[in-house]
């Protein structure tokens, strides 16, 4: 068989197709034109974003919802730099994406040519790895390596920058063997001694808590984590990105920890004598002041990335490896336990907050964001794939939407990227066309990427957008209220009429100002094929409670002054 000689652009698509790519999110331009031209001959669907940041978030949402590598494509210069926020978002949340950028011709590199930028230099600290490709013959190998690196070990973004002449030039194409990278070590496995040490700690503990992070979902460890929790009767607190790692309705699931975690969760962590951290990285938003964090607790850290061990919190036993593998090895030796006293104590901590539950609140004429999220949860039966933006609504969603399944909440946790929700929801819908997708977004963040409504229309997508509109950059306003004497610098928003914006894109919309109108609006959106926007005009100066101020002790929480709306489990 003769080896076909193809252009670099053709080799790119041959390679992507072999990696199983069915859809890419992108935006064309001069330096990537050869690749776009060749694309038409390959069975890959291209989704035209309205900004390269949107394309990158779409690839990210696609990756997180579908548990597969997402692909974004853009041109050189501004196309590439516009991807930076999306790449950093994927890096912080360990999301596997491959970003392909065009680059000026190799002979122009370094000459400050039109739309030339050093994107491999720029993205060095925010990619897992990146490549500059100047030869058509290198493309297949690099694409193969890029997908392997993005998806293996701790996942992350990989950028492949391909010069225009490498796309245009010709080379023989053969699909390379699986990559062998002598310097790349995605697989780790803890020693039997370390496993034994962890077992001893678990068996000796009287007040243990499992901290479940994003790694539980990414490694597909939900079943084995659940088995561990049930067998050893260890309650589970989840991080924001760990939501869905254990069903919200599971009796051992305490809920979210950290800055806006439930009060009883943080109190329980502070009182614990053992933390079993699974696929989480002790982010400052979950620990508060690390000096006073879980002071009486021994700590076991199960984590795939060795660089996370002892980074923020010093641990007693580190089990570096894939969660599924480590816990599968651990489970047979775990002795069944009963922890009636400890679980009863946590239940008692919960009790005081539960009576102030939202469902017991009178309708005082105000529409609270919590009401909206709560009703949305009820109406969707908790089964929607929710994509949130960043800010107050994101925390309220985490508190009031009870997720039963992994990959049913997609949100920008580590980087906290406003503008994430709408494009990520678009990507998620492509990954799971059968899912009911809701983008829940604040009025501030929505305006950062609402141009992607055009993508929704052009791709004829069926997803819904709930704008939690309080007329402020709400979370920043809340910090100003608490810590800056209510000096509202640059947080009040003069907003457009979001319904009119939707109408301009040809999408139906509703405005909701009273609690009684929430459910009918949600029902209308769900009943309708296609995308609908609901503009929820919520209480303007509401705050997310409880709150651990940044850097303060985890048990040092600001509680709502009067028990109007408190977080809590809801029937």
């Amino acid at each position: 068989m003769t080896t076909p000689v193809l252009t670099g652009a053709q080799i790119l698509w041959e390679s992507l197709v072999r990696e199983g790519v069915e859809v890419v999110f992108g935006y064309p331009g001069g330096a990537i034109l050869p690749a776009y031209d060749a694309m038409l001959d390959y069975p890959v669907r291209h989704v035209l974003a309205r900004h390269e940041q949107g394309a990158t978030h779409m690839a990210d949402g696609y990756a997180r919802a579908g548990n597969r590598v997402g692909v974004a494509i853009a041109t050189s210069g501004p196309g590439a730099t516009n991807m930076v926020t999306g790449i950093a978002t994927a890096m912080m949340d360990s999301s596997p994406i491959v970003c392909i950028t065009g680059q000026v011709g190799s002979r122009l590199i370094g000459s400050d040519a039109f739309q030339e930028t050093d994107i491999t230099g720029i993205t060095l600290p925010i990619t897992k790895h990146n490549y500059l490709v100047t030869q058509p013959g290198e493309i297949a190998q690099v694409i193969r390596e890029a997908f392997y690196i993005a998806a293996s070990g701790r996942p992350g973004p990989v950028l492949v920058d391909i010069t225009k002449d490498a796309q245009q030039g010709r080379a023989p194409f053969t699909w390379p063997d699986p990559p062998r990278l002598p310097g790349y070590r995605p697989d780790h496995s803890p020693s039997d001694e370390d496993l034994a040490a962890a077992l001893t700690l678990i068996h000796r503990a009287e007040r243990p808590i499992i901290l479940a992070g994003h790694g539980v979902i990414q490694s597909g460890a939900t079943a084995v984590v659940r088995a561990l929790a049930e067998r050893a009767q260890i309650p589970v607190a989840v991080t924001l990105l760990g939501i869905g790692g254990l069903p919200a309705s599971h009796p051992l699931n305490l809920g979210m920890m950290g800055m806006h975690g439930e009060a009883w969760v943080n109190t329980a962590i502070q009182e614990a004598d053992l933390l079993v951290a699974l696929g989480m990285r002790f982010d400052d938003r979950v620990t508060g002041n690390v000096k006073t964090y879980a002071p009486g607790a021994r700590k076991i850290h199960v984590e795939i990335d060795p660089a996370e061990i002892d980074k923020n919190v010093k641990v007693d036993v580190a089990l570096v490896g894939d969660l599924v593998e480590v816990l599968t090895r651990l489970l047979p030796s775990i002795a069944p336990a009963r922890r009636g006293a400890w679980l009863g104590h946590i239940q008692a901590l919960k009790g005081s907050a539960a009576v102030r539950d939202i469902k017991n609140l009178p309708d005082c004429g105000h529409l609270y964001a919590a009401h909206v999220i709560h009703d949305l949860w009820r109406e969707t039966g908790g089964d929607a794939l929710v994509v949130t933006d960043v800010g107050q609504h994101q925390m309220w969603e985490a508190q009031y939407y009870h997720h039963e399944e992994p990959r049913s909440l997609i949100t920008s946790g580590g980087l906290g990227t406003m503008g994430f929700a709408l494009p990520a929801a678009i990507g998620a819908k492509f990954a799971r066309p059968g899912a009911e997708v809701w983008a829940i977004v604040g009025d501030g963040g929505f305006q950062m990427t609402m141009a992607e409504l055009a993508t929704v229309v052009q791709e004829n997508l069926d997803l819904n957008v709930a704008v939690i509109n309080n007329g402020y950059l709400g979370m920043v306003r809340q910090w100003q209220e608490f810590f800056y004497e209510r000096r509202y610098a640059a947080t009040p928003l003069v907003n457009p009429d979001f319904g009119a914006i939707a109408a301009a894109y040809g999408l139906p919309a509703r405005r909701v100002e009273a609690r009684g109108d929430v459910v009918p609006a949600v029902r209308a959106a769900r009943a309708r094929q296609g995308t609908m926007l609901i503009d929820f005009r919520v209480e303007q100066e509401d705050a997310v409670y409880p709150m651990v101020p940044a850097g303060r002790d985890l048990h040092d929480m600001i509680r709502r002054p009067s028990p109007i709306v408190e977080t809590g489990a809801d029937a």
């Binding site: 060095l124 500059l132 990278l181 002598p182 070590r185 060795p306 660089a307």
Partner: protein
Amino acid sequence: MTTTFVVRVENRPGVLTRVTEIFRRRAFNIESLTVGHTETPGVSRMTIVVEADASAARRLEANLYKLVNVLRVDNITERPSVFRDLALIRVATDAGTRAQVMQLVEVFRARVVDVAPASLVVEITGTEDKIDGLVEVLRPYGVLEMARTGRLAMCRGHLNVTRTPVPPALEPGLDDASDNAAACSV
């Protein structure tokens, strides 16, 4: 405390930047860094000296290992090792002082490698301390210029592990030899 890493990397464009980026990104200041070829074609060796305690050094090592082009990292701070620095020092001399300077050079087992009417160039190899000592005694004559390589390091004793892993492009068929075991012991 001062930590010394020996880092073996694939010799590819941009690798030096990737390595130094780790230190910058994690807010560590590199005190010295040397790069050169090794016994294995395609593999470069860096000796990096950085102010970092044992815990920070462990995390730096883990972060360096995350770089795809980094083949091996050894923290040799606690191991018996040979440390060497090379310096070229231009000293002001005239007919009256030249002999004195050359005598000092002799005492330090350094060499004069260039002589000009008003100055000479001394080459010295040794530990940083020894070089600092020579610089100190030469200073009164006038040190006009100095260039130092920074620390080069190698463990003492016999090398008891396989060679540095080789990039597949350079030596196809070689099994992945990227074990994480200590590179050297005594």
